[in-house]
Symmetry: C2
Subunit: 408 residues, 2 copies
């Protein structure tokens, strides 16, 4: 399959080093390909960790173990295997993860529970333990590399490497945040269906980091969708090495906590949007603002019903401001709505107001907006104060080509 | 747009007349097309009616009124407008429906509430009252026609006319059932997203007919999906004229009630499957059996999660027995499941058993099965007694062509 670069791709950003984070990659040859596919990230002693995971009832061993590990709040290493998801592989899958954790913890002199493992790729094939063992041995021996090498090594069907950065002031200390992410299909809410990692040198307690990551996740990774499908391996982890000289923050009331939370959310939003920009077959990036809903959660559900609707997504692909399909999607969301108060705008122009089409609205700016690659849909429900923003992409022949024609 | 006949189309069946039912069609010219688009079905005095309707929060006036009318249980006429859904049209939409009901009830000498109206087609344009008035006048003056003319007249984007029949014995009396249906996209559960009408000469109380229709709907129209999208106008109505000489059945315990309920469910299943067979772009008809779930409802939800998954549907389009995508869909359904008890078969061959792939399963019969146009997927959850069958179709370039390329 020829994966051409998404037309919505953004250039790879300049990224700072994060003190306490060392990146290495190696070739485990999980697939028969000519690239690094094993990423090893060593974290300074005392690193705090937080995580959110797929809600899939068929989650991988990596996810099961990761959920337990993050409860303890401490991390010394992250290993990412690309090319094999090690999901739906029973006890052999679990053994493979435990072997990796043991090999790394023996080397670092830490607990196996401080070694986080993710795997992404094909489902149903146990991760080959011999390849993993040799790969880990090779990576521990290799020289450190930069963020770009890590984003390349964790990618599978991604058409461009995805990373972002931001910073925040905690007291007098400037803390840096860098995030990397992979994912292009099987992307749905209830958690970014993807692998995402955030690294910061901030000093922050694991409990507060977890609280902030969960809140950021709700507004970012849980607000994107490509095809409504959810992977068995989705994981977002945040690691804080504590090497910036800030006084450790442990409560939302601490000075600088708000700034850090805002930066974390901003970073997660950037990463989430990058995933949508690499949505399989995507030609247009769609922002759906839902306001006036019964609650924020209700607004998010309505936004996702619109963002997951094949009829809405194909209409946008066709450059059609088909607000009737938006009405349909609002109606099917199963959330409070009042047909006669519903208003819909494309690119800032109201095409439907209070349950009726706007006659004689100016079609020219709407058609112009729809012909671009950044589409804004605004939905006003007029029944409450809830609001949410959801990001998605259009549904094109490219999606079918990638997901149906891959064997021909 | 050139709507070529679905490759999954079935021939139009021989259908009996139903005593007490008279069919007429006319050209209201709701669109600029050369065909009948207004259907008028007169029902004998004393006809019982039952109905199930879309759960959309943005339902059309036809649906709002229909819900109220069916509570009274009596019908004298059905009017179906094709080419204009009259949805999201505010008070003008409601006025148009009320005008039609008045015009027909004046003619028949019945209550306006005994005249059921459905409309299907474009959203957001009020049904033109002048065209409706002239159309009704014309149809009341026209000669009766057969079922085939009615199925043609209620169709919009359908690529073939859809109808079915069955019969049942109630005591010594044979009762006939005929059903007609339209719909090809915007088809999702929580009610067949379509217009479907069942006519029978059985004598049955409205309350019992409603009970039976709701139960039949749960196992048939609510178990189909094309794209997960739900229309604002979905309606299934059942009319029983009572002209068969059976003793009126009023309770599930009456002799013959079971036979009639089974026949009604059978008819609804046939109609629902016809809609899937006309799914936009469909090349393959997919039957998903889910067994061993926590409950029947849980099995249905899991079946629909599979049937709505773009990744599963594109894999089938590509002839790939991709059980990993089925695992993913089971996992995301939000229903009880145990990864390590999950088994999946394609065409009767187990490809995954108890949470692990079946190594060395015979790929030849599976590949042969996948190359056909009737695909069977069986999922065993191994945690309970719940089961359900869901029907869907594959997701192809044809779907994108119909829904995105229609303006080019």
């Amino acid at each position: 399959m020829d994966l051409t670069r998404s037309p919505l791709a953004l250039p790879f950003p300049e990224l700072p080093e994060i003190e306490g984070v060392t990146v290495r990659v190696a070739r485990a040859q999980y697939k028969d390909w000519d690239r690094a596919d094993l990423t090893f990230i060593e974290l300074a002693e005392g690193t705090s960790v937080a995580g959110v995971f797929t809600k899939s009832a068929c989650a991988s061993s990596e996810v099961e173990l990761g959920r337990e590990q993050r409860e303890r709040g401490k991390a010394r290493a992250l290993v990412v295997n690309a090319g094999n998801a090690n999901a739906f592989t029973g006890y052999r899958g679990r053994e493979a993860v435990e072997q990796i954790a043991k090999q790394v913890s023996d080397h670092l002199g830490c607990e196996p529970g401080e070694v986080f493992v993710s795997s992404t790729g094909v489902i149903g094939v146990p991760l080959p333990q011999d390849k993993a063992r040799r790969g880990i041995a090779a990576v521990l021996d290799s020289a450190p590399v930069g963020w770009r090498e890590a984003t390349d090594a964790i990618a599978t069907t991604d058409t461009f490497p995805k990373a972002a950065r931001t910073s925040a002031m905690i007291g007098d200390a400037r803390v840096e945040l860098v995030g990397v992410v992979k994912g292009s299909g099987m992307i749905a809410p209830d958690m970014a269906t993807m692998l995402g990692y955030v690294f910061t040198d901030a000093a922050i307690s694991p409990a507060l980091l977890q609280e902030m990551l969960e809140r950021a996740n709700e507004q970012t990774f849980s607000c994107i969708t490509v095809d409504g499908d959810t992977s068995t391996s989705d994981t977002v982890l945040a690691f804080a090495t504590g090497k910036a000289a800030n006084p450790t923050i442990t409560s939302q009331d601490d000075a600088g906590a708000d700034a850090f939370a805002a930066a974390l959310t901003d970073l997660c939003r950037k990463l989430a949007q990058l995933v949508v920009r690499d949505g399989e077959g995507a030609q247009k990036f769609i922002t759906i603002d839902v306001v006036g809903a019964a609650s924020d959660e209700s607004a998010r559900r309505i936004g996702l019903a619109i963002g997951n609707s094949p009829l809405v997504k194909t209409a946008i692909a066709g450059g059609d401001a088909n607000w009737g399909r938006v009405v349909m999607a609002v109606g099917k969301a199963g959330e409070p709505a009042d047909r006669d108060r519903l208003s819909i705008a494309f690119g800032g122009v109201w095409t439907a107001r209070d349950g009726q089409p706007v006659e004689d609205y100016d079609e020219r700016p709407v058609a112009e907006h729809l012909s671009g690659d950044a589409i804004d849909i605004r939905v006003e429900l007029g029944i409450g104060q809830g609001h949410a923003t959801v990001w998605t992409c259009d549904l094109t022949h490219g999606y079918i080509a990638i997901n149906a024609d891959y064997r021909s």
